[in-house]
């Protein structure tokens, strides 16, 4: 991790009519950081994420993601970031190889680069034997790691993950976090949303959104000290109860 900001926003706000979904959020994410973006259902996480991904124009505020302006260059942002959702967005009736090739094509990689990427991903994930199998025949944990690798097929500066591990097997969840740690060690920046507070403890730093605002932001350790709590679950409870 170094001090270069991969994401920095100031007073980012989104209003729908009279309703302020995201209320002047300001924060930065550094290169190589695993950043947890937390909040209860309806706190404004998804709306904020859409603005950071170039899918929704902010009502006011400013900032950059992957070196691009969130207001003026939102189209460009989509090319430079990776995105992975809970539903993985893999094509179940394409093979492993075809999925990699497809996403490589979508992101405009050259044929040569796509070929290299296929070899690299298959080798790293030890999927060579199942390269020609349909994705739907793979176990959940493999699909999840494949989806993660594919979200980085175009070597994005930052990867956004929307609730990536809900409901999955505890062992599979750990394989997945291991893959995230590995990617971060290689210099990728990971931005992950979750409402499972125990997942927050895997992150370098976390922010907690309540009613459209970022009400807390620090390392899990410091937040626990600040709120005199033993777990992130407790931090969350104290924060939400204090405000309501």
């Amino acid at each position: 991790m170094n001090n270069e900001n991969v994401l920095a926003v100031q007073n980012l706000t989104k209003k729908f009519g009279n309703f302020t979904a995201v209320n002047a959020i300001t924060f930065e994410v550094k290169r190589g950081e695993i950043f947890g973006f937390l909040g209860a259902n309806g706190a404004g996480k998804t709306t904020a994420m859409k603005m950071l991904n170039g899918l929704s124009k902010p009502t006011s505020g400013s900032g950059t993601v992957a070196g691009l302006d969130v207001i003026r260059q939102s189209e460009k942002i989509k090319e430079r970031i990776g995105y992975m959702s809970q539903k993985f967005s893999l094509y179940e009736d394409l093979t492993v190889k075809e999925n990699i090739r497809f996403y490589g094509g979508v992101y405009g990689l050259s044929r040569k680069r796509i070929k290299e990427k296929i070899e690299q991903i298959l080798a790293e994930l030890q999927l060579i034997e199942v390269a020609s199998k349909l994705v739907k025949s793979l176990p959940l944990g493999w699909k999840q790691r494949l989806a993660f690798a594919i979200s980085m097929v175009h070597d994005p500066i930052i990867v956004f993950m929307d609730e990536p591990t809900g409901g999955v097997d505890p062992a599979v969840r750990r394989q997945f976090w291991e893959a995230i740690y590995e990617a971060a060690k290689r210099g990728s920046t990971i931005f992950v949303t979750t409402h499972y507070m125990d997942e927050a403890e895997y992150c370098d730093r976390v922010s907690i959104m309540v009613d459209g605002k970022i009400e807390a932001l620090d390392t899990p350790d410091n937040l626990k000290k600040q709120f005199n709590a033993t777990s992130m679950d407790e931090v969350f409870l104290k924060l939400v109860r204090k405000i309501n």
Binding site: A40, N41, G42, L140, G166, G167, V168, D169, P170, A171, V172, R174, W177, E178, Y181, E182, A184, K185, H195, M197, D198, E199, A200, E201, Y202, P220, D221, M232, D233, F236, L237, V240, R241
Partner: protein
């Protein structure tokens, strides 16, 4: 008489064995948890016990009645909260509750005692349509509707999935008070941290029960040496420990790494071993297992046995 008795129940869909030779009992007034991830077979088991699905093999009774032969009697004796929200979205809170009371031939007034503590929390919104409630409030309404006919046995299939941390805690508080009214409760959850709130739990994975016991007993019975390690270089420390002879398993656990070793190690020696290998270690401590540690340990052995 046990509130629920399950003997050798199995069920397949096409060729997939969803529930594989399951046995357990739940006593009156007991809060029994089925703990396991998605696809473990929890919902299939619920549907068999609530008489909505017939098992391929085995026998089960609920409130003393056979789930196949006496299904009509069982339906009057149980309350069931399925995994998916299944109330009428376009009826109000009040209308939903009185609908469920009516189909069971009772009234809200008659059993108000039982639901009062929960219902007062949603009463300010009683005219609101159920579809417009927040997740936590929907869940409270669903629980009221499952209780309004004063059931003897309550089935709750993943009642806290997708619900935020505050509502989860409130929900478990409600279950503790229902238990005191001598209602037997079977509850399923993928959250291992909820296990300690149950009287007894069954750990379930891929259709099989791995172990049944009191959560505290499971924790006390775990004899393998277990250490928590905190470092700023999580990934490299993890990779290093994987290569060591003393390691049985090493897994990320939030801000810590959990290390299970083949024999007992001295905490200071372990710490200096890691430091000598160039890692910045902030903390090493011997810890008690959590239910999640135990689940991971048993399911790992289960996998290697079936290979």
């Amino acid at each position: 008489m046990s509130a629920i008795k399950v003997e050798h129940i199995s069920k397949s869909y096409n060729n997939v064995l969803a529930v594989n030779d399951i046995n357990f009992t739940v006593e009156d007034g007991e809060l029994f948890g089925l703990i396991g991830p998605d696809g473990a077979g929890k919902s299939t088991l619920f549907r068999i016990l609530t008489t909505l699905l017939i098992a391929d093999k085995g026998k089960a009774t609920v409130a003393g009645y056979d789930v196949v032969e006496a299904y009509k009697k069982i339906r009057k004796k149980i309350g069931y909260m399925p995994g998916r929200f299944s109330l009428y979205q376009d009826l109000s809170v009040e209308e939903n509750l009185s609908f469920f009371a009516t189909i069971f031939g009772t009234t809200i007034e008659e059993n108000y005692d039982l639901v009062k503590d929960i219902y007062v929390q949603i009463e300010p919104f009683k005219k609101r349509l159920a579809g417009q409630l927040s997740g936590g409030m929907k869940q409270k309404l669903a629980l009221c509707c499952a209780l309004i006919h004063k059931p003897e046995v309550l089935f709750l299939d993943e009642p806290t999935t997708g619900v935020d941390a505050v509502s989860r805690i409130e929900f478990w508080d409600m279950l503790q008070s229902l238990k005191k009214k001598n209602i037997a409760i079977l509850v399923s959850t993928p959250y291992m941290d909820e296990a300690s709130l149950c009287d007894r739990i069954a750990l379930i994975q891929r259709g099989k029960i791995l172990r049944i016991d009191k959560p505290q007993k499971m924790i006390n019975d775990f004899e393998k040496p277990l250490y928590a390690i905190k470092t700023h270089e999580t990934y490299s420390t993890l990779q290093h420990l994987k290569q060591q002879n003393f390691t049985e398993s090493i897994l990320p656990f939030g801000e810590y790494l959990h290390l299970v070793t083949k024999q007992k190690l001295n905490v200071e020696i372990l710490k200096s071993h890691l430091q000598q290998n160039g890692f910045t270690i902030t903390e090493v401590k011997k810890i008690k297992a959590t239910i999640e540690d135990i689940f991971l340990d048993i399911s790992k052995n289960e996998k290697s046995l079936t290979k």
